[in-house]
């Protein structure tokens, strides 16, 4: 018996009992569709969260001054509480060979005025390293250079919203604005970025860090952002930064280094687990579908006992009969699997269409996995009925009516 013969016999048999085949398939269809849909929901949620945090970058360390301590006891006399300074930033930059960029940040709020228009905005005093570290880009003009920082030049880069509010459609480049009463020349406009971690990047004004310190009368920093060269080095990078700062601060650990990526990754682990659990629950319905296949195959074998007898009488070997029925159950589950994948994808699309905020995404692995699983279900639950068919005694099978 050739492969084509086996397939032809299986398809014939499924076509003969069309309604029954369809109903049996339905179990697998629902199971596979459920797997696809639930995994799509889980994956979509993960993508959504990932998108929200995308601006941050997964390789960022944030150094903030002060240490939240739960230790008791009076403060030791003579211990000096250090602030974070530009000197700290320079040390990290020079000695932290694991770091791609070190960006000191001064934070303040100020009124920005252009002619008769004004707006209260957040002002960030930064260095040229900042856009690289935060993955931001200048759209028009340029970001300020190291020389601007060192010379404390009065130049600024505007966020998109600030530019629109103050200038409308007019050209802002080269114009002079007043930030907290001081004149600044606009040298660049940032690309639209949106809200990241609750901060509207587009509603910021960037100044050279030293200029900002002067403006706000500060000698310290709000925070230092560090981007680690290699994502895998995030933990050793954290230790490196801590060691360098401890040394600079007379062995006092008066700073905190947080790694948002670590928090993110544990969140992703939870979301992944959720996806697997949902997929697993859906897979149980696939299992039920498999039992349906086994049930109907047992009925089929019983019904076709006479046929099995005839086939054996004219020379079918046990293996021929086994394969014939195994292929039939596998065809049932495979067709069901394909239909289930289509139904699941359609369902995911419909869900995304009806509830636009619902993030859905069908990952390729869920298609491959659920299809393989459905085929395996057909094989697994088909073996017993097929073996039963193959082991029938031809004389008794021929006598069966």
């Amino acid at each position: 018996m050739t492969r084509i013969d086996f397939v032809a016999v299986a398809v014939d048999s499924l076509r003969t009992n069309r309604l029954r085949s369809l109903l049996t398939m339905l179990g697998v269809v629902i199971g596979v569709a459920a797997v696809i849909l639930l995994v799509a929901l889980g994956q979509g949620t993960k993508n959504y969260v990932e998108e929200q945090f995308a601006g941050l970058g997964s390789n960022i360390l944030i150094v903030t001054p002060g240490k939240v301590e739960t230790k008791g006891g009076p403060p030791i006399i003579g211990s000096v509480r250090h602030k974070l300074t530009l000197a700290d930033s320079r040390i990290l930059e020079k000695k932290g060979y694991l770091f791609a960029g070190v960006a000191p940040v001064v934070f303040g709020t100020a009124e920005v005025r252009y002619r008769n228009r004004s707006r209260n905005v957040s002002v960030l005093g930064v260095t040229p390293a900042f856009p690289d570290v935060r993955n931001l880009h200048v759209e028009i003009g340029a970001f300020f250079a190291e020389a601007d920082v060192d010379a404390r030049r009065r130049v600024c880069v505007l966020g998109r919203t600030v530019k629109r509010e103050l200038f409308g459609n007019a050209n802002a480049l080269g114009q002079t604005v007043k930030v907290a009463g001081t004149l600044f020349r606009v040298i660049g406009i940032m690309e639209r970025k949106g809200i990241s971690l609750g901060i509207d990047i587009d509603d910021l004004v960037f100044l050279p860090v030293r200029t900002a310190q002067e403006l706000f009368d500060l000698d310290s920093l709000f925070e230092i952002l560090i981007s680690v060269r290699n994502h895998n080095d995030i933990e050793s990078g954290k230790e490196m930064a801590a060691a360098l700062l401890r040394k600079a601060h007379n062995r006092h650990e008066d700073f905190t280094i947080t790694n948002q990526a670590a928090i993110l990754s544990s969140l992703f682990t939870i979301l992944d687990t959720l996806t697997y659990v949902l997929g697993g629950i859906a897979a149980i319905s696939l299992l039920v579908g498999g039992i349906g296949i086994m049930n109907i195959m047992l009925v089929t074998v019983k019904e076709r006992t006479n046929e099995i007898g005839i086939r054996k009488a004219v020379g079918a070997r046990n293996r021929d009969i086994l394969l014939q029925f195994l292929l039939e159950s596998t065809a049932l589950s495979a067709f069901g699997g394909v239909a289930g994948i289509l139904a699941g994808m359609a369902g995911a699309r419909a869900l995304g269409w009806i509830v636009p905020k619902m993030p859905v995404s069908v990952p390729a692995w869920s298609i491959v996995l659920s299809f393989s699983f459905s085929v395996l279900t057909g094989v697994f639950f088909g073996v017993y009925p097929a073996k039963k068919a193959a082991s029938l005694n031809p004389i008794e099978a021929l006598r069966y009516e």
Binding site: T2, N306, G309, V314, G315, R317, L398
Partner: protein
């Protein structure tokens, strides 16, 4: 189909064949010490009342079953000890079956039914169709090749069954009450067909309880209570 036997070797030989069934009702003897030889080209009728063991004999001759003891040889080769798959291959190659209840696949056309033994013989598709059509032509049903078997009359069904039995050129045609489900006219036509096939060389063993059918055969073997008996003894038993 014509089997030459230069050494005078019979096509089939049974020596002391006994078949015992172990069932819930204890041991039942189906055949008892049967000796039988059938030569190539013979047309043999096996007659016996129901329960006499003629079905058991059929099953053993057809390699659907194996004897409990004794020797059964086809072309000098013993059948004992063959696996069920080897028996399948042997049936496929050497034996064509015709049953009282036709045993055709109802969802298949006449042609596909006839093709069935060739499918399991591993004959390629095109050749299968050609040979099946030849076999249908032989039984005069070429024009019915695309009919589903349940669209055919009883006589036509039995002729499709004969075409299926012949298609792989077996050594032996085994017919079990082939006219049992046919009307008189179809039955007579069928016997004519079998006689014609025998005349052109086919070896036929036919099981029947109808003396009129048995008369078409060249030789009749009588079986009573699992034993082969003489014609006189058979008539005595039947009263």
């Amino acid at each position: 189909m014509l089997q030459s036997d230069p050494a005078g070797e019979p096509l089939l030989r049974l020596r002391g064949v006994t078949k015992v069934y172990e069932g819930g009702a204890g041991r039942v003897t189906g055949l008892q010490d049967v000796d039988l030889e059938i030569r190539s080209g013979e047309f043999v009728a096996v007659m016996g009342p129901s329960g006499s063991g003629k079905s058991t004999l059929m099953n053993i001759l057809g390699c659907l079953d194996v004897p409990t003891s004794g020797v059964y040889e086809i072309k000098g080769a013993p059948v004992a000890g063959l696996s069920s798959d080897e028996l399948s291959a042997l049936r496929n190659r050497e034996i064509g079956f015709v049953f009282q209840v036709f045993h055709l696949l109802p969802r298949y056309t006449a042609l596909r039914n006839v093709e069935l033994p060739l499918v399991y013989a591993g004959v390629p598709r095109e050749e299968r169709g050609r040979r099946a059509l030849d076999a249908l032509r032989e039984v005069g049903l070429e024009d019915r090749k695309d009919h589903l078997t349940n669209e055919l009359s009883g006589g036509q069904k039995q002729r499709v069954a004969i075409a299926r039995a012949l298609v792989n050129r077996p050594s032996l045609l085994l017919a079990d009450e082939p006219t049992g489900n046919l009307d008189t006219k179809s039955g007579a036509e069928l016997m004519e067909l079998l006689a014609g096939l025998n005349a052109s060389g086919a070896t036929i063993v036919l099981v029947t309880h109808d003396p009129a059918v048995a008369r078409c055969a060249g030789r009749t073997v009588y079986i009573v209570d699992g034993r082969i008996v003489s014609a006189e003894r058979f008539r005595e038993v039947r009263g």
